[in-house]
Protein backbone atom coordinates (compact mmCIF):
# COMPACT_ATOMS: atom_id res chain seq x y z
CA UNK A 1 0.00 0.00 0.00
CA UNK A 2 1.01 3.63 -0.13
CA UNK A 3 3.70 4.78 2.20
CA UNK A 4 3.15 7.34 4.97
CA UNK A 5 3.68 10.99 4.14
CA UNK A 6 7.25 11.97 5.07
CA UNK A 7 6.12 15.15 6.77
CA UNK A 8 2.54 15.18 8.10
CA UNK A 9 0.22 16.77 5.54
CA UNK A 10 1.50 20.30 5.37
CA UNK A 11 -0.53 22.55 3.11
CA UNK A 12 0.72 22.43 -0.46
CA UNK A 13 0.36 26.09 -1.24
CA UNK A 14 2.05 28.16 1.46
CA UNK A 15 2.43 31.45 -0.30
CA UNK A 16 2.96 32.74 -3.80
CA UNK A 17 6.32 31.06 -4.23
CA UNK A 18 4.55 27.74 -4.56
CA UNK A 19 2.05 28.97 -7.13
CA UNK A 20 3.71 27.21 -10.13
CA UNK A 21 3.63 23.84 -8.43
CA UNK A 22 0.11 24.48 -7.26
CA UNK A 23 -0.97 25.14 -10.85
CA UNK A 24 0.95 22.21 -12.28
CA UNK A 25 -0.64 19.81 -9.80
CA UNK A 26 -4.18 21.06 -9.72
CA UNK A 27 -4.90 22.12 -13.29
CA UNK A 28 -4.44 18.64 -14.84
CA UNK A 29 -5.98 16.85 -11.87
CA UNK A 30 -9.02 19.08 -11.75
CA UNK A 31 -9.47 18.94 -15.52
CA UNK A 32 -9.23 15.19 -15.46
CA UNK A 33 -11.35 14.49 -12.38
CA UNK A 34 -13.66 17.44 -13.00
CA UNK A 35 -14.64 16.55 -16.54
CA UNK A 36 -15.64 13.05 -15.43
CA UNK A 37 -17.96 14.42 -12.75
CA UNK A 38 -19.32 17.41 -14.65
CA UNK A 39 -19.85 15.57 -17.95
CA UNK A 40 -21.58 12.63 -16.26
CA UNK A 41 -23.89 14.99 -14.38
CA UNK A 42 -24.46 17.07 -17.52
CA UNK A 43 -25.46 14.16 -19.75
CA UNK A 44 -27.61 12.74 -16.96
CA UNK A 45 -29.33 16.12 -16.64
CA UNK A 46 -29.97 16.32 -20.39
CA UNK A 47 -31.53 12.86 -20.23
CA UNK A 48 -34.31 14.34 -18.05
CA UNK A 49 -34.98 17.32 -20.35
CA UNK A 50 -37.10 17.56 -23.51
CA UNK A 51 -33.94 18.35 -25.58
CA UNK A 52 -34.07 17.51 -29.25
CA UNK A 53 -31.63 19.19 -31.66
CA UNK A 54 -30.12 21.44 -29.00
CA UNK A 55 -30.03 21.03 -25.22
CA UNK A 56 -32.88 22.90 -23.52
CA UNK A 57 -33.98 23.30 -19.93
CA UNK A 58 -37.09 21.62 -18.64
CA UNK A 59 -38.05 18.46 -16.88
CA UNK A 60 -39.77 15.48 -18.42
CA UNK A 61 -39.03 12.97 -15.66
CA UNK A 62 -38.39 9.43 -16.88
CA UNK A 63 -40.09 9.99 -20.25
CA UNK A 64 -36.88 9.73 -22.32
CA UNK A 65 -35.98 6.52 -20.53
CA UNK A 66 -39.37 4.89 -21.03
CA UNK A 67 -39.28 6.02 -24.66
CA UNK A 68 -35.84 4.54 -25.31
CA UNK A 69 -36.64 1.32 -23.49
CA UNK A 70 -39.79 0.95 -25.58
CA UNK A 71 -38.09 1.36 -28.97
CA UNK A 72 -37.45 -1.71 -31.06
CA UNK A 73 -33.99 -0.34 -31.80
CA UNK A 74 -32.90 -0.39 -28.16
CA UNK A 75 -34.47 -3.77 -27.37
CA UNK A 76 -32.74 -5.42 -30.30
CA UNK A 77 -29.48 -3.65 -29.52
CA UNK A 78 -29.59 -4.89 -25.95
CA UNK A 79 -30.41 -8.46 -26.97
CA UNK A 80 -27.52 -8.29 -29.44
CA UNK A 81 -25.25 -7.03 -26.68
CA UNK A 82 -26.14 -10.07 -24.56
CA UNK A 83 -25.26 -12.47 -27.39
CA UNK A 84 -22.18 -10.51 -28.47
CA UNK A 85 -21.01 -9.93 -24.90
CA UNK A 86 -21.31 -13.58 -23.90
CA UNK A 87 -19.87 -14.95 -27.16
CA UNK A 88 -17.05 -12.44 -27.39
CA UNK A 89 -15.98 -12.59 -23.74
CA UNK A 90 -16.07 -16.37 -23.34
CA UNK A 91 -14.53 -17.25 -26.70
CA UNK A 92 -11.84 -14.55 -26.53
CA UNK A 93 -10.86 -15.70 -23.05
CA UNK A 94 -10.75 -19.35 -24.17
CA UNK A 95 -8.71 -18.60 -27.30
CA UNK A 96 -6.42 -16.34 -25.27
CA UNK A 97 -5.91 -19.10 -22.71
CA UNK A 98 -5.13 -21.61 -25.46
CA UNK A 99 -2.58 -19.24 -27.01
CA UNK A 100 -1.00 -18.58 -23.61
CA UNK A 101 -0.72 -22.29 -22.82
CA UNK A 102 0.88 -22.95 -26.23
CA UNK A 103 3.40 -20.16 -25.77
CA UNK A 104 4.10 -21.35 -22.23
CA UNK A 105 5.45 -24.72 -23.50
CA UNK A 106 8.93 -23.25 -24.08
CA UNK A 107 8.54 -23.58 -27.83
CA UNK A 108 10.95 -22.19 -30.39
CA UNK A 109 10.03 -18.90 -31.96
CA UNK A 110 8.11 -17.89 -28.86
CA UNK A 111 8.72 -14.18 -29.44
CA UNK A 112 7.65 -14.29 -33.07
CA UNK A 113 4.48 -16.21 -32.25
CA UNK A 114 3.63 -13.85 -29.43
CA UNK A 115 4.06 -10.84 -31.71
CA UNK A 116 1.83 -12.45 -34.35
CA UNK A 117 -0.97 -13.18 -31.88
CA UNK A 118 -0.82 -9.67 -30.44
CA UNK A 119 -0.37 -7.44 -33.49
CA UNK A 120 -4.14 -7.06 -34.17
CA UNK A 121 -4.34 -5.13 -30.89
CA UNK A 122 -2.22 -2.37 -32.45
CA UNK A 123 -4.53 -1.63 -35.37
CA UNK A 124 -7.77 0.32 -35.07
CA UNK A 125 -11.20 -1.30 -34.94
CA UNK A 126 -11.95 0.59 -38.14
CA UNK A 127 -9.17 -1.27 -39.96
CA UNK A 128 -10.16 -4.60 -38.39
CA UNK A 129 -13.80 -4.09 -39.32
CA UNK A 130 -13.00 -3.06 -42.89
CA UNK A 131 -10.71 -6.01 -43.58
CA UNK A 132 -13.06 -8.57 -42.02
CA UNK A 133 -15.99 -7.12 -43.95
CA UNK A 134 -14.10 -8.14 -47.12
CA UNK A 135 -13.15 -11.60 -45.87
CA UNK A 136 -16.66 -12.37 -44.67
CA UNK A 137 -18.46 -10.88 -47.67
CA UNK A 138 -19.88 -13.94 -49.50
CA UNK A 139 -19.54 -12.19 -52.88
CA UNK A 140 -15.80 -11.61 -52.68
CA UNK A 141 -14.35 -13.17 -49.53
CA UNK A 142 -13.82 -16.65 -48.16
CA UNK A 143 -17.03 -18.06 -49.67
CA UNK A 144 -16.14 -16.79 -53.16
CA UNK A 145 -12.64 -18.25 -52.88
CA UNK A 146 -13.88 -21.71 -51.85
CA UNK A 147 -16.61 -21.60 -54.52
CA UNK A 148 -14.01 -20.76 -57.16
CA UNK A 149 -11.93 -23.72 -56.02
CA UNK A 150 -14.82 -25.94 -57.16
CA UNK A 151 -16.81 -26.47 -53.97
CA UNK A 152 -19.72 -24.50 -55.38
CA UNK A 153 -22.25 -25.31 -52.66
CA UNK A 154 -20.02 -23.94 -49.87
CA UNK A 155 -21.82 -21.21 -47.93
CA UNK A 156 -20.30 -18.78 -45.42
CA UNK A 157 -22.66 -15.84 -45.58
CA UNK A 158 -23.11 -14.85 -41.93
CA UNK A 159 -22.47 -11.23 -42.87
CA UNK A 160 -25.79 -11.01 -44.70
CA UNK A 161 -27.66 -13.53 -42.52
CA UNK A 162 -29.81 -11.76 -39.92
CA UNK A 163 -29.51 -14.59 -37.41
CA UNK A 164 -25.77 -15.07 -37.72
CA UNK A 165 -24.48 -11.55 -38.50
CA UNK A 166 -23.76 -10.79 -34.83
CA UNK A 167 -21.24 -13.66 -34.85
CA UNK A 168 -19.19 -11.90 -37.53
CA UNK A 169 -18.59 -9.15 -34.96
CA UNK A 170 -17.61 -11.86 -32.48
CA UNK A 171 -15.10 -13.35 -34.96
CA UNK A 172 -13.45 -10.01 -35.69
CA UNK A 173 -13.49 -9.18 -31.99
CA UNK A 174 -11.76 -12.44 -31.08
CA UNK A 175 -9.13 -11.85 -33.75
CA UNK A 176 -8.40 -8.40 -32.38
CA UNK A 177 -8.54 -9.05 -28.63
CA UNK A 178 -7.43 -12.64 -27.97
CA UNK A 179 -3.75 -11.61 -28.05
CA UNK A 180 -4.50 -9.18 -25.24
CA UNK A 181 -6.07 -11.98 -23.18
CA UNK A 182 -3.06 -14.14 -24.05
CA UNK A 183 -0.60 -11.51 -22.76
CA UNK A 184 -2.38 -11.29 -19.40
CA UNK A 185 -2.78 -15.06 -19.03
CA UNK A 186 0.85 -15.61 -19.95
CA UNK A 187 1.95 -13.21 -17.21
CA UNK A 188 -0.21 -15.23 -14.81
CA UNK A 189 1.06 -18.63 -15.98
CA UNK A 190 4.66 -17.51 -15.64
CA UNK A 191 4.11 -16.35 -12.07
CA UNK A 192 2.92 -19.75 -10.82
CA UNK A 193 5.50 -20.93 -8.32
CA UNK A 194 7.92 -23.49 -9.70
CA UNK A 195 7.87 -25.43 -6.41
CA UNK A 196 4.18 -26.16 -6.81
CA UNK A 197 4.74 -27.61 -10.27
CA UNK A 198 7.77 -29.58 -9.16
CA UNK A 199 5.85 -31.08 -6.25
CA UNK A 200 3.11 -32.22 -8.61
CA UNK A 201 5.66 -33.71 -10.99
CA UNK A 202 7.22 -35.69 -8.12
CA UNK A 203 3.76 -36.97 -7.27
CA UNK A 204 3.66 -38.34 -10.82
CA UNK A 205 1.16 -35.91 -12.37
CA UNK A 206 1.27 -35.58 -16.19
CA UNK A 207 1.32 -32.21 -18.02
CA UNK A 208 -2.47 -32.12 -18.53
CA UNK A 209 -3.10 -32.90 -14.89
CA UNK A 210 -0.61 -30.27 -13.80
CA UNK A 211 -2.51 -27.68 -15.83
CA UNK A 212 -6.00 -28.59 -14.71
CA UNK A 213 -5.16 -29.26 -11.06
CA UNK A 214 -2.25 -26.98 -10.22
CA UNK A 215 -1.82 -24.10 -12.63
CA UNK A 216 -5.32 -23.12 -13.75
CA UNK A 217 -6.78 -22.91 -10.22
CA UNK A 218 -4.19 -20.26 -9.33
CA UNK A 219 -5.02 -18.38 -12.53
CA UNK A 220 -8.66 -17.68 -11.94
CA UNK A 221 -8.34 -14.17 -10.45
CA UNK A 222 -6.69 -13.18 -13.75
CA UNK A 223 -9.38 -15.00 -15.72
CA UNK A 224 -12.01 -12.88 -13.98
CA UNK A 225 -10.02 -9.67 -14.50
CA UNK A 226 -9.63 -10.45 -18.22
CA UNK A 227 -13.33 -11.22 -18.59
CA UNK A 228 -14.34 -7.98 -16.86
CA UNK A 229 -12.08 -5.94 -19.15
CA UNK A 230 -13.40 -7.75 -22.23
CA UNK A 231 -16.99 -7.25 -21.12
CA UNK A 232 -16.20 -3.58 -20.72
CA UNK A 233 -14.90 -3.54 -24.33
CA UNK A 234 -18.06 -5.32 -25.48
CA UNK A 235 -20.41 -2.81 -23.86
CA UNK A 236 -18.54 0.11 -25.46
CA UNK A 237 -18.18 -1.50 -28.91
CA UNK A 238 -18.93 1.02 -31.64
CA UNK A 239 -16.18 1.40 -34.28
CA UNK A 240 -15.96 -2.30 -35.06
CA UNK A 241 -19.65 -2.54 -35.92
CA UNK A 242 -19.61 0.72 -37.87
CA UNK A 243 -16.79 -0.58 -40.06
CA UNK A 244 -17.87 -4.22 -40.34
CA UNK A 245 -21.66 -4.21 -40.76
CA UNK A 246 -22.88 -0.67 -40.05
CA UNK A 247 -25.38 -2.28 -37.66
CA UNK A 248 -27.04 -4.34 -40.38
CA UNK A 249 -28.42 -6.33 -42.07
CA UNK A 250 -31.53 -4.56 -40.77
CA UNK A 251 -30.87 -4.17 -37.06
CA UNK A 252 -29.11 -7.52 -36.73
CA UNK A 253 -25.83 -6.11 -35.38
CA UNK A 254 -27.13 -2.97 -33.70
CA UNK A 255 -25.49 -2.36 -30.32
CA UNK A 256 -26.32 0.19 -27.56
CA UNK A 257 -23.36 2.44 -28.44
CA UNK A 258 -24.74 2.77 -31.99
CA UNK A 259 -28.24 3.49 -30.71
CA UNK A 260 -26.89 6.37 -28.59
CA UNK A 261 -25.14 7.86 -31.63
CA UNK A 262 -28.22 7.34 -33.76
CA UNK A 263 -30.51 9.16 -31.30
CA UNK A 264 -28.07 12.01 -30.73
CA UNK A 265 -26.75 12.81 -34.18
CA UNK A 266 -28.98 11.12 -36.77
CA UNK A 267 -32.44 11.56 -35.30
CA UNK A 268 -31.55 14.76 -33.45
CA UNK A 269 -32.99 13.69 -30.13
CA UNK A 270 -30.39 14.61 -27.51
CA UNK A 271 -32.70 13.80 -24.58
CA UNK A 272 -33.27 10.22 -25.65
CA UNK A 273 -29.66 9.81 -26.77
CA UNK A 274 -28.52 10.91 -23.32
CA UNK A 275 -30.96 8.54 -21.65
CA UNK A 276 -29.54 5.70 -23.78
CA UNK A 277 -25.98 6.78 -22.82
CA UNK A 278 -26.93 6.71 -19.13
CA UNK A 279 -28.41 3.23 -19.61
CA UNK A 280 -25.08 2.18 -21.16
CA UNK A 281 -23.22 3.59 -18.17
CA UNK A 282 -25.54 1.71 -15.80
CA UNK A 283 -24.88 -1.53 -17.70
CA UNK A 284 -21.17 -0.88 -17.34
CA UNK A 285 -21.53 -0.18 -13.62
CA UNK A 286 -23.49 -3.41 -13.31
CA UNK A 287 -20.28 -5.16 -14.33
CA UNK A 288 -17.67 -2.95 -12.67
CA UNK A 289 -19.26 -2.39 -9.24
CA UNK A 290 -19.56 -6.09 -8.30
CA UNK A 291 -16.01 -6.63 -9.55
CA UNK A 292 -14.72 -3.65 -7.57
CA UNK A 293 -16.56 -4.85 -4.45
CA UNK A 294 -15.09 -8.32 -4.87
CA UNK A 295 -11.57 -6.91 -5.27
CA UNK A 296 -12.07 -4.72 -2.20
CA UNK A 297 -13.30 -7.67 -0.14
CA UNK A 298 -10.35 -9.77 -1.27
CA UNK A 299 -7.85 -7.07 -0.39
CA UNK A 300 -9.34 -6.66 3.07
CA UNK A 301 -9.27 -10.40 3.63
CA UNK A 302 -5.63 -10.60 2.49
CA UNK A 303 -4.71 -7.70 4.74
CA UNK A 304 -6.22 -9.46 7.72
CA UNK A 305 -4.67 -12.83 6.97
Amino acid sequence: MSHAAPSPARPLFAGLKRLPEFLVIWVPLLLSAGHVVVFTAWTTWISFTPSTLVPVDGWVGWRNYTNVLATRNWKIAFDNLLIFGAGFVILTALVGLLLAIIIDQRIRGENVLRSIFLYPMAVSFVVTGTVWSWLLNPGMGIQKLVNDWGWTSFRFDWLIDRDMAIWTIVIAGIWQSSGFAMALFLAGLRSVEADLIKAAQIDGAGPVRIYTRVILPTLWPIVIAVMVILLQFAIKTFDLVRALTGGGPGLATQLPALVVYDFMFQRGHLGRGSAAAVLMLLTLLGVLLPYGAWKYYQRRRDARA
Partner: protein, 283 residues
Protein backbone atom coordinates in the same frame (compact mmCIF):
# COMPACT_ATOMS: atom_id res chain seq x y z
CA UNK B 1 9.48 -40.98 -25.56
CA UNK B 2 7.61 -41.49 -28.85
CA UNK B 3 4.54 -40.01 -27.19
CA UNK B 4 6.40 -36.92 -26.10
CA UNK B 5 7.81 -36.14 -29.54
CA UNK B 6 4.41 -36.75 -31.12
CA UNK B 7 2.67 -34.33 -28.80
CA UNK B 8 5.51 -31.87 -29.38
CA UNK B 9 4.92 -32.07 -33.13
CA UNK B 10 1.20 -31.58 -32.58
CA UNK B 11 1.91 -28.55 -30.44
CA UNK B 12 3.99 -26.94 -33.18
CA UNK B 13 1.37 -27.78 -35.80
CA UNK B 14 -1.37 -26.06 -33.77
CA UNK B 15 0.86 -23.08 -33.01
CA UNK B 16 1.75 -22.50 -36.65
CA UNK B 17 -1.81 -23.05 -37.87
CA UNK B 18 -3.01 -20.41 -35.41
CA UNK B 19 -0.22 -18.02 -36.40
CA UNK B 20 -1.22 -18.52 -40.04
CA UNK B 21 -4.88 -17.72 -39.23
CA UNK B 22 -3.91 -14.56 -37.36
CA UNK B 23 -1.79 -13.39 -40.28
CA UNK B 24 -4.46 -13.95 -42.96
CA UNK B 25 -6.16 -10.53 -42.63
CA UNK B 26 -2.80 -8.76 -42.85
CA UNK B 27 -1.69 -10.85 -45.82
CA UNK B 28 -5.00 -10.33 -47.62
CA UNK B 29 -4.94 -6.56 -47.25
CA UNK B 30 -1.25 -6.36 -48.24
CA UNK B 31 -1.76 -8.48 -51.35
CA UNK B 32 -4.94 -6.67 -52.34
CA UNK B 33 -3.21 -3.35 -52.04
CA UNK B 34 -1.06 -4.54 -54.97
CA UNK B 35 -3.85 -5.95 -57.17
CA UNK B 36 -5.95 -4.11 -59.70
CA UNK B 37 -9.67 -3.52 -59.13
CA UNK B 38 -10.57 -5.63 -62.20
CA UNK B 39 -8.56 -8.58 -60.97
CA UNK B 40 -10.20 -8.48 -57.53
CA UNK B 41 -13.68 -8.31 -59.04
CA UNK B 42 -12.94 -11.24 -61.37
CA UNK B 43 -11.54 -13.51 -58.65
CA UNK B 44 -11.94 -12.73 -54.95
CA UNK B 45 -10.37 -10.62 -52.24
CA UNK B 46 -8.00 -13.47 -51.50
CA UNK B 47 -5.33 -14.10 -54.13
CA UNK B 48 -1.83 -13.48 -55.44
CA UNK B 49 -1.39 -10.39 -57.66
CA UNK B 50 -1.08 -11.24 -61.38
CA UNK B 51 0.24 -7.78 -62.15
CA UNK B 52 1.75 -5.72 -59.39
CA UNK B 53 -0.41 -2.61 -59.12
CA UNK B 54 1.93 -0.30 -57.22
CA UNK B 55 -0.06 2.64 -58.56
CA UNK B 56 -2.71 1.77 -55.91
CA UNK B 57 -0.47 3.37 -53.33
CA UNK B 58 0.06 6.61 -55.21
CA UNK B 59 -3.67 6.80 -55.88
CA UNK B 60 -4.58 6.06 -52.26
CA UNK B 61 -2.02 8.52 -50.96
CA UNK B 62 -2.50 11.48 -53.24
CA UNK B 63 -5.46 11.57 -55.61
CA UNK B 64 -8.24 9.18 -54.73
CA UNK B 65 -11.63 10.79 -54.00
CA UNK B 66 -13.05 10.64 -50.50
CA UNK B 67 -16.48 12.26 -50.25
CA UNK B 68 -16.08 15.34 -52.50
CA UNK B 69 -12.36 15.85 -52.03
CA UNK B 70 -9.93 14.18 -54.44
CA UNK B 71 -6.67 14.41 -52.54
CA UNK B 72 -6.26 10.84 -51.38
CA UNK B 73 -5.61 9.90 -47.79
CA UNK B 74 -2.67 12.29 -47.33
CA UNK B 75 -4.50 15.24 -45.70
CA UNK B 76 -6.26 12.89 -43.28
CA UNK B 77 -2.98 11.24 -42.31
CA UNK B 78 -1.61 14.70 -41.63
CA UNK B 79 -4.69 15.51 -39.52
CA UNK B 80 -4.21 12.35 -37.48
CA UNK B 81 -0.54 13.17 -36.95
CA UNK B 82 -1.34 16.77 -35.96
CA UNK B 83 -3.85 15.52 -33.40
CA UNK B 84 -1.99 12.47 -32.12
CA UNK B 85 1.49 13.89 -31.57
CA UNK B 86 0.60 16.98 -29.48
CA UNK B 87 -2.13 15.14 -27.55
CA UNK B 88 0.24 12.26 -26.77
CA UNK B 89 3.03 14.55 -25.57
CA UNK B 90 0.76 16.86 -23.57
CA UNK B 91 -1.19 14.10 -21.86
CA UNK B 92 1.99 12.19 -21.02
CA UNK B 93 3.77 15.23 -19.61
CA UNK B 94 0.82 16.43 -17.54
CA UNK B 95 0.01 12.87 -16.44
CA UNK B 96 3.59 12.34 -15.26
CA UNK B 97 3.48 15.45 -13.08
CA UNK B 98 0.00 14.63 -11.79
CA UNK B 99 0.98 11.02 -11.08
CA UNK B 100 4.08 12.26 -9.28
CA UNK B 101 2.11 14.71 -7.17
CA UNK B 102 -0.54 12.18 -6.27
CA UNK B 103 1.84 9.35 -5.39
CA UNK B 104 4.70 11.16 -3.64
CA UNK B 105 3.17 14.36 -2.26
CA UNK B 106 0.20 13.19 -0.30
CA UNK B 107 -2.29 15.99 0.16
CA UNK B 108 -5.81 16.43 1.39
CA UNK B 109 -8.37 14.72 -0.82
CA UNK B 110 -5.77 12.96 -2.98
CA UNK B 111 -7.45 9.56 -2.80
CA UNK B 112 -10.75 11.10 -3.88
CA UNK B 113 -9.18 12.93 -6.78
CA UNK B 114 -7.34 9.79 -7.81
CA UNK B 115 -10.52 7.71 -7.66
CA UNK B 116 -12.26 10.21 -9.96
CA UNK B 117 -9.33 10.29 -12.37
CA UNK B 118 -9.42 6.50 -12.54
CA UNK B 119 -13.16 6.54 -13.23
CA UNK B 120 -12.32 8.49 -16.38
CA UNK B 121 -10.73 5.32 -17.77
CA UNK B 122 -14.08 3.55 -17.66
CA UNK B 123 -16.59 6.31 -18.45
CA UNK B 124 -18.05 5.58 -21.92
CA UNK B 125 -17.35 8.13 -24.62
CA UNK B 126 -21.10 8.38 -25.20
CA UNK B 127 -21.50 10.09 -21.82
CA UNK B 128 -19.15 12.87 -22.98
CA UNK B 129 -20.31 13.50 -26.53
CA UNK B 130 -22.85 16.25 -25.86
CA UNK B 131 -20.79 18.05 -23.18
CA UNK B 132 -17.75 18.08 -25.48
CA UNK B 133 -19.86 19.38 -28.36
CA UNK B 134 -21.01 22.29 -26.23
CA UNK B 135 -17.54 22.97 -24.78
CA UNK B 136 -16.02 22.97 -28.27
CA UNK B 137 -18.65 25.42 -29.48
CA UNK B 138 -18.16 27.73 -26.48
CA UNK B 139 -14.38 27.88 -26.84
CA UNK B 140 -14.67 28.22 -30.64
CA UNK B 141 -12.94 24.97 -31.55
CA UNK B 142 -15.79 23.23 -33.38
CA UNK B 143 -14.50 21.20 -36.34
CA UNK B 144 -10.84 21.92 -35.61
CA UNK B 145 -7.83 19.73 -34.96
CA UNK B 146 -7.04 21.84 -31.89
CA UNK B 147 -10.41 20.76 -30.48
CA UNK B 148 -9.52 17.10 -30.89
CA UNK B 149 -6.12 17.72 -29.29
CA UNK B 150 -7.85 19.26 -26.29
CA UNK B 151 -10.30 16.36 -25.96
CA UNK B 152 -7.66 13.66 -26.24
CA UNK B 153 -5.34 15.46 -23.83
CA UNK B 154 -7.99 15.82 -21.13
CA UNK B 155 -9.26 12.28 -21.55
CA UNK B 156 -5.79 10.82 -21.91
CA UNK B 157 -4.91 12.25 -18.51
CA UNK B 158 -6.96 9.47 -16.90
CA UNK B 159 -4.68 6.80 -18.37
CA UNK B 160 -1.38 8.66 -18.07
CA UNK B 161 -1.98 9.71 -14.45
CA UNK B 162 -2.97 6.15 -13.55
CA UNK B 163 0.07 4.61 -15.27
CA UNK B 164 2.55 7.06 -13.77
CA UNK B 165 1.04 7.01 -10.30
CA UNK B 166 1.20 3.20 -10.16
CA UNK B 167 4.84 3.37 -11.19
CA UNK B 168 5.97 6.22 -8.93
CA UNK B 169 4.30 4.76 -5.85
CA UNK B 170 7.19 2.26 -5.74
CA UNK B 171 9.82 4.99 -5.30
CA UNK B 172 11.16 4.55 -1.74
CA UNK B 173 9.89 7.04 0.82
CA UNK B 174 13.42 7.38 2.22
CA UNK B 175 14.66 8.76 -1.08
CA UNK B 176 11.96 11.44 -0.96
CA UNK B 177 12.70 12.17 2.69
CA UNK B 178 16.41 12.60 2.06
CA UNK B 179 15.75 14.92 -0.87
CA UNK B 180 13.40 17.03 1.23
CA UNK B 181 15.90 17.28 4.08
CA UNK B 182 18.41 18.54 1.53
CA UNK B 183 15.94 21.29 0.80
CA UNK B 184 14.79 20.12 -2.65
CA UNK B 185 11.32 21.29 -3.63
CA UNK B 186 8.55 19.88 -5.78
CA UNK B 187 10.12 20.57 -9.18
CA UNK B 188 13.70 19.85 -8.15
CA UNK B 189 12.79 16.40 -6.87
CA UNK B 190 10.85 15.76 -10.05
CA UNK B 191 13.79 16.68 -12.31
CA UNK B 192 16.56 15.17 -10.24
CA UNK B 193 15.02 12.00 -8.83
CA UNK B 194 11.72 11.08 -10.43
CA UNK B 195 12.36 11.93 -14.08
CA UNK B 196 15.62 9.93 -14.34
CA UNK B 197 13.73 6.89 -13.04
CA UNK B 198 10.87 7.42 -15.50
CA UNK B 199 11.93 6.34 -19.01
CA UNK B 200 10.31 2.86 -18.82
CA UNK B 201 6.90 4.19 -17.77
CA UNK B 202 7.08 7.20 -20.10
CA UNK B 203 7.74 4.94 -23.10
CA UNK B 204 4.80 2.73 -22.12
CA UNK B 205 2.58 5.79 -21.71
CA UNK B 206 3.62 7.40 -25.00
CA UNK B 207 3.06 4.16 -26.95
CA UNK B 208 -0.30 3.59 -25.27
CA UNK B 209 -1.50 7.14 -25.92
CA UNK B 210 -0.19 7.25 -29.48
CA UNK B 211 -1.91 3.99 -30.42
CA UNK B 212 -5.15 4.89 -28.67
CA UNK B 213 -5.46 8.39 -30.14
CA UNK B 214 -4.37 7.40 -33.66
CA UNK B 215 -6.95 4.60 -33.72
CA UNK B 216 -9.79 6.63 -32.20
CA UNK B 217 -12.86 7.00 -34.38
CA UNK B 218 -15.97 8.18 -32.53
CA UNK B 219 -14.71 11.65 -31.57
CA UNK B 220 -13.12 12.13 -34.96
CA UNK B 221 -16.35 11.40 -36.78
CA UNK B 222 -18.52 13.36 -34.33
CA UNK B 223 -16.54 16.55 -33.90
CA UNK B 224 -14.97 17.04 -37.32
CA UNK B 225 -16.26 16.97 -40.88
CA UNK B 226 -14.84 16.98 -44.39
CA UNK B 227 -11.13 17.59 -44.73
CA UNK B 228 -10.70 18.15 -40.98
CA UNK B 229 -11.32 14.47 -40.18
CA UNK B 230 -8.69 12.06 -38.86
CA UNK B 231 -7.75 9.07 -40.96
CA UNK B 232 -10.03 6.54 -39.20
CA UNK B 233 -13.08 8.63 -40.11
CA UNK B 234 -11.73 9.06 -43.64
CA UNK B 235 -11.48 5.29 -44.07
CA UNK B 236 -15.17 4.91 -43.27
CA UNK B 237 -16.02 7.75 -45.66
CA UNK B 238 -13.84 6.06 -48.27
CA UNK B 239 -15.65 2.72 -48.02
CA UNK B 240 -18.93 4.60 -48.40
CA UNK B 241 -17.71 6.27 -51.59
CA UNK B 242 -16.36 3.07 -53.16
CA UNK B 243 -19.60 1.20 -52.52
CA UNK B 244 -20.84 2.24 -55.99
CA UNK B 245 -17.68 1.57 -58.00
CA UNK B 246 -15.59 -1.12 -56.29
CA UNK B 247 -11.98 0.05 -55.85
CA UNK B 248 -10.73 -2.52 -53.40
CA UNK B 249 -7.10 -2.30 -54.48
CA UNK B 250 -6.85 1.40 -53.73
CA UNK B 251 -8.95 0.99 -50.61
CA UNK B 252 -6.62 -1.75 -49.34
CA UNK B 253 -3.64 0.50 -49.96
CA UNK B 254 -5.38 3.23 -47.93
CA UNK B 255 -6.02 0.76 -45.10
CA UNK B 256 -2.34 -0.28 -45.10
CA UNK B 257 -1.17 3.34 -45.00
CA UNK B 258 -3.59 4.21 -42.21
CA UNK B 259 -2.56 1.21 -40.09
CA UNK B 260 1.17 1.63 -40.70
CA UNK B 261 2.08 4.15 -37.95
CA UNK B 262 0.63 2.09 -35.10
CA UNK B 263 1.93 -1.16 -36.58
CA UNK B 264 5.44 0.32 -36.75
CA UNK B 265 5.16 1.52 -33.17
CA UNK B 266 4.09 -1.98 -32.19
CA UNK B 267 6.90 -3.58 -34.17
CA UNK B 268 9.61 -1.46 -32.55
CA UNK B 269 8.07 -0.99 -29.12
CA UNK B 270 6.11 -4.23 -28.72
CA UNK B 271 7.74 -5.08 -25.44
CA UNK B 272 6.58 -1.80 -23.91
CA UNK B 273 3.17 -2.13 -25.52
CA UNK B 274 2.62 -5.45 -23.73
CA UNK B 275 3.92 -3.99 -20.49
CA UNK B 276 1.40 -1.17 -20.78
CA UNK B 277 -1.44 -3.59 -21.39
CA UNK B 278 -0.60 -5.69 -18.36
CA UNK B 279 0.19 -2.70 -16.14
CA UNK B 280 -3.09 -0.99 -16.99
CA UNK B 281 -5.17 -4.10 -16.60
CA UNK B 282 -3.86 -6.03 -13.64
CA UNK B 283 -3.88 -3.16 -11.16
Amino acid sequence: MRDASLSRALLYAVAFLLAFLYLIPLAVVLLNSLRTAEEIVQTSMIGWPRVWAFQNYTAAWADFCIAQTCSGIRPYMLNSALVTLPATLLSTLLGAVAGYAISLWRFKGDTWIFALVTLGVFLPEQMRLIPWTIVLRDVGLTNTLAGLVMIHTVQGLSFTTLFCRNYYIAIPADLMKAAKIDGAGFFRIFYRIVLPLSPPILIVTVIWQFTGIWNEFLYGVTFTTGTQQPVTAALIALSASVADVPQHGVQSAAVVIAALPTLLVYLFGGRYFVRGLTAGAVK
